[in-house]
Symmetry: C2
Subunit: 206 residues, 2 copies
DNA sequence: GTCTATACTACGATAGAC
DNA sequence: GTCTATCGTAGTATAGAC
């Protein structure tokens, strides 16, 4: 599929160089086609950019959607189920942050987080919204003592622990004194994240 | 100071548009000078980029250095002092992530985290290294039950909770349903971060 | 030190062949 | 649907005036 190839190359280039820095010529060449194919398929550079955002949202939903929906439903049973649900969703998110497949998506999204454009709306509504809403519900059930705003803040901070694994990747590698995060280091980080989250969620109000 | 003005404009433009996307013409114009001043002062676009990284590192050190050194020294006294030290350093870091002043630095650094260049070495050695080393020492004292690798992982995850406040800013605003993070929301987030960190650090091994 | 002028390359968009 | 050719614009670098 030519347009699929163009989309994946576009995500990579936009993530690397930003919207202005990326070149449609280079994207087309790396996809093995001519620049005017982009005009034909997507209407231009901006159309390609927005289509790339939609594609990322679809990929994330395909990867996380089922797990999140299941955890959300199961979490309604009990506080303990909610805690397990948070741990499961968070671990799925951490796995995505650790995977090489998701690296280009993360670079694209990270840029949009700084200066959101229409592409961020598509990312948020297409993928992030269900993820965050499920997490907020689960956290609220796990910590019924927290007011809504505090539960939302806790959700954000929990995601932050997973986010750093991608958004701060170079620093993570420096701190751990490794070239790349292999399976054993990933397991260690995930276990720590799980322990931290469990500790935060199971804290009982005094 | 003309070269100072150029540096600050450069940090902003490189952070917004990336190295390739930023234009030396635009940077010069926004600084009220001609493009060839960049050649004169910094040798070219790349020299300006590296100088911008050095400038950011110096600014961060000026902002955090004293507090971090004090916390590190005080933390050697007792486990409790170490815990308080971590909370203090983390709060200082969170404040930086929340401040508008540091936003351009964060955008610049976030880009470097994804594809580190020589500029990342300068950022890490110039500012991040002392910060992370101090935190690892403090966390190790606060949680003497943790092996070194686990203490490092915990440090990373603790920083992640503060990092998300900048690196995931657009999502944070969406989740909290606000346009911008005002003082009261910032206070809430910092308090939650403090509570989470305290809970993680004061956990006693079973 | 800071400017203008210029050389050269690469950009996105578009028209038109096939 | 995919290509080549071309247009106007904007990029960096550099030389030389002041």
């Amino acid at each position: 599929m030519l347009s699929e190839k163009l989309l994946n190359t576009a995500i990579d280039h936009f993530g690397r160089f930003g919207f202005e820095g990326a070149s449609t010529r280079a994207i087309a060449k790396a996809s093995g086609t001519a620049m005017s194919s982009i005009t034909y398929h997507f209407g231009g550079k901006e159309g390609l950019y927005l289509a790339a955002a939609d594609h990322i949202a679809a990929c994330i939903t395909a990867l996380q959607g089922e797990r999140v929906a299941a955890a959300r439903a199961a979490g309604r049973a009990s506080r303990d189920a909610a805690i397990q649900g948070v741990l499961g969703v968070l671990d799925g998110f951490a796995l995505m942050m650790l995977s090489a497949e998701a690296a280009p998506w993360a670079r694209f999204i990270t840029r949009e987080q700084q200066y959101p454009t229409e592409a961020f709306d598509r990312l948020y509504n297409g993928a992030m919204r269900t993820l965050s809403e499920a997490m907020i519900e689960l956290v609220s059930r796990a910590r019924p003592d927290l007011p809504e705003a505090e539960a939302k803040a806790t959700t954000i901070l929990l995601f932050g622990q997973a986010l750093v694994l991608r958004a701060g990747r170079a620093s993570v590698c420096r701190v751990l004194a490794v070239e790349r995060i292999d399976d054993s280091i990933a397991a260690l980080l995930r276990a720590r994240l799980r322990a931290n989250a469990l500790c935060i969620l199971s804290e009982t109000p005094q």
